[in-house]
C-alpha cells in the first residue's frame, strides 16, 4: 500500500549565495578592505572605468574580473600592475558569491585596501546574486539607448550609484543622457548619478569621490 504525504521543504534557494556573500564581506572587513562591485551591460565601459580608477588613485587595489569564458578583461587590468583574478562563469550570466569567494582567496589581501569586482556584462541576472561588496555601481552607456534605465528598473533600484557613460556620443546615437539621469532618479531617489565620458576623463573625479564617500561612511 502506498500512502501520500505532504512534506514541508522550506528551503530558500537563494540562502546559500547570501550566506557566502556575508562570509565574503566579513573576510574583507577583517582585512579592512572596501569592496565595490561594478555591474552593467556588455560594452558599457566597466573595464575602462576600472582601469581609470586604478590609474588615478593611490589605493592599493585588487580586482576580480568576471567574464563568461575569456580572460580579456583580466589581461587588460593586469597591465596596470595590480593583482587581478579572472573569474569565468562558463554558461552562467552572473558572478555569484561562491566564485567571488574563491577569487578573494587568490588575492594578496594583506596588501590591499580596495577590491573592485567587475561583474559579467548583464543588467538582469546579477540583481539576484549579492557578492559581499559594500557598494554596487551600475554602469550604463548612452549607446545602449536612452530607454535602458527604465527597461531595467530593479538593478537601478538596488544599486548605490549609476554612471551614465559615453555622454560624448549621445548626439551621434540620438540618445538623451538627461532622460537617463531622470529615469534613474525616479526609480531610486537615493541613487548617486554621474554622467561620464571616460575617453576624455569627464566624470571620473566625481566617480572616485562617490566611492570615497561610501568608503568613509
Amino acid at each position: 500500500m502506498h500512502q501520500v504525504a505532504d512534506v514541508e521543504v522550506a528551503k530558500n534557494i537563494m540562502d546559500a549565495n547570501k550566506k557566502l556573500a556575508d562570509k565574503n564581506k566579513k573576510n574583507l572587513d577583517d582585512k579592512g578592505i572596501f569592496c565595490v562591485d561594478f555591474v552593467g551591460a556588455i560594452g558599457s565601459g566597466k573595464t575602462t572605468l576600472v582601469e581609470e580608477i586604478i590609474d588615478n588613485t593611490d589605493y592599493k587595489i585588487g580586482v576580480l574580473a568576471g567574464d563568461v569564458i575569456s580572460k580579456f578583461d583580466a589581461g587588460r587590468i593586469e597591465k596596470h600592475d595590480v593583482p587581478v583574478v579572472g573569474l569565468n562563469t562558463g554558461k552562467e550570466c552572473h558572478l555569484d558569491a561562491h566564485l567571488v569567494g574563491h577569487g578573494i582567496a587568490d588575492l594578496p589581501l594583506d596588501d590591499l585596501d580596495m577590491l573592485i569586482i567587475e561583474n559579467v556584462g548583464n543588467l538582469i541576472c546579477p540583481v539576484d546574486f549579492e557578492l559581499g561588496s559594500h557598494m554596487r555601481i551600475v554602469v550604463v552607456s548612452v549607446t545602449e539607448g536612452d530607454d535602458t534605465v527604465e527597461k531595467h528598473p530593479i538593478i537601478f533600484q538596488t544599486s548605490d550609484a549609476v554612471v551614465i557613460n559615453k555622454v560624448d556620443l549621445a548626439d551621434a546615437v540620438g540618445a538623451d543622457a538627461d532622460k537617463m539621469v531622470n529615469d534613474a532618479l525616479k526609480l531610486n531617489p537615493n541613487i548617486k548619478v554621474i554622467k561620464s565620458s571616460l575617453k576624455d576623463g569627464t566624470g571620473l573625479d566625481e566617480i572616485i569621490k562617490c566611492i570615497e564617500e561610501a568608503m568613509n561612511n
Partner: protein, 124 residues
C-alpha cells in the same frame, strides 16, 4: 542560463527531502517565487521539466506561488506590501502604496523558496 542554476538548486532540495522521507514518487512541488526574483516562471518550469526526466520527480505537478514585495518607505515610514507598477515590465517597479515614493528599502520579494512537496511512499 540563469534559470538552470535555480532549477538545479530546487531539484537538489526536493530530492533531499524526498529521500529523507522514503518517497517512491513526488506528485507535487510548490515553489514560492519572489516577485522581484529575476526569474521567469515559464522558463523555470521549462528547465525543471528537462532536469526531472527519469527521476522520481518526473510526473510531479509544479505549482508556483508568489511572494509579495515588502518595503520600508524612507519618506512616510510605511512598512508593508508595496505597489508594483508593472508597465510593460515582467520585473516591476516598486513604490510606496501610501505616498507613491520610490525612496524605499526592499525587505522581501527576491527569494525563491521550495515550500513543500507531496510524495508517495510505502506504508511505514
Amino acid at each position: 542560463m540563469h534559470e538552470l542554476s535555480m532549477a538545479q538548486g530546487i531539484i537538489d532540495a526536493v530530492i533531499e527531502t524526498a529521500e529523507n522521507n522514503n518517497a517512491t514518487e513526488v506528485n507535487e512541488i510548490t515553489i514560492e517565487l519572489g516577485r522581484l526574483a529575476m526569474v521567469n516562471p515559464e522558463q523555470l518550469e521549462f528547465i525543471l521539466g528537462v532536469l526531472i526526466e527519469n527521476t522520481i520527480l518526473e510526473d510531479a505537478k509544479i505549482i508556483f506561488e508568489e511572494i509579495p514585495v515588502e518595503i520600508d518607505c524612507h519618506d512616510c515610514n510605511f512598512h508593508g506590501v508595496a505597489i508594483l507598477d508593472d508597465k510593460d515590465h515582467y520585473a516591476p517597479i516598486v513604490k510606496c502604496p501610501e505616498c507613491d515614493s520610490y525612496s524605499i528599502e526592499i525587505l522581501n520579494g527576491k527569494d525563491i523558496v521550495v515550500k513543500n512537496i507531496v510524495i508517495e511512499k510505502e506504508d511505514d
